[in-house]
Amino acid sequence: MKTDVLVIGGGPAGMNAAIEAARAGASVTLVERQAHLGGQLVKQTHKFFGWAEKGAGTRGIQLAEEWSKAVEEHENITVMLSSEAIGLYDDGAWMIEKEGKLIPIYPKKVVIAVGAQEKTLPIENADIPGVYGAGAIQTMMHVYGVLPGEKYLIVGAGNIGVILAYQLAQAGAEVKAVVDVLPKLGGAYWVHVTKIRRMGIPLYMKHTVIEIKGTKWVEGATIAEIDEKFQPIPGTEKELDVDTIAISIGLSPLTDLMYQAGVELIWIPELGGLVPVHSENMRTNKPEIYVAGDASGIEEATTAALEGKIAGAVAAKDLGFDVNDEAIEEWKKELSQLRDAPLLERLRQGLHKLHEAAKERGLQ
């Protein structure tokens, strides 16, 4: 099977990359692992900020619907669901596994927008049932309508942890505590923090979980205050009667395919760990490969969508299709405005490292 642009991943970045490449006239194949498009937007019931003209105040689930519809209706886009890109062969074939069958695709350009994975907590017993990724709990709750537990401890009070706390309460669960090792809140938006405060959910800063109880599954947890060296302070322990522990201590980009395809990766902790070196046009060291969204560095859905637009349009442009350069510049401007928020200082440091690396390598 041949296609101008293969987009891997059907989340905000991938959907928008497909739409823009197709709009420019390229034939696009979009492969998505799940049985539906939308990526992680399908579980985001909260309203998005930023990007005032386009989508602020809109819930993630609505954005997922809008963009999926635009993708499905576009005649230049072929959507392959329940399909996973599993590797690249020397002749340029990208192998797609779809329900047990292998389908090779020969694209001229590839946009890798495969998203991220949730980090795990490196303490004893953090592998037993009941310890789940915060995003995984959102998926169970909001996509399938299932609550995996009744009494929750949330580890990590960044945006996801705090949002999860009130989403759990909305769904009828009990949140016993949200803990974070930092002395004060960093990444969480205040509107969400005030919501959980109003709901009476205890938020413990400078605290961490020091013990997960249970043998077959979680039967409780102990939290404690920590000192400047992140060591638990004796005497500050609190026992919590919980059956579920949500881990929201960050995400890391899914870089397996990039690594296999020879995309250069560098270590930038502020962006989630190993990230692909790429220019602001989303080009990598491999001329046929572009990246977008969380897979290119951890941010959030609105920036992922903009990066997707840029990647899709630039890929089409590099193939000789007529693309509106002003639109691309406009998306870059919107991106930098979104990244200008005061609480994103750490992100900006990471992006600075990334841009320096791209510059050193002459990536345009």
Binding site: R33, E118, P129, T215, K216
Partner: protein
Amino acid sequence: MKRIENHPILTFKRGKKIKFYFEGKEMWGYEGDTIASALVANGVKVFRESLKLHRPRGFYCAIGNCSSCLMTVDGVPNVRTCITPLKEGMRVERIKGKGALHYEN
């Protein structure tokens, strides 16, 4: 562990009821469930055990990344139950070890 019935933002459009089997035991889910979500709704926490120390494992990421929820489904080992849609009559089992293909039989 339960199905959410009332939610301030979402309405869950559950499809028809689907019968499946977990370790031989009859269970029910809905069209639109993944195998994992149906198991969770039925109160199943332990999906498999770890290879070396045989520690219990549940799901972890629920989006097909982490391999924590691999199970044997209709005789096929290592199925990612968190992204595999539930189907009528499915037989879902915990894998012992790495799973066997039984090609020889």
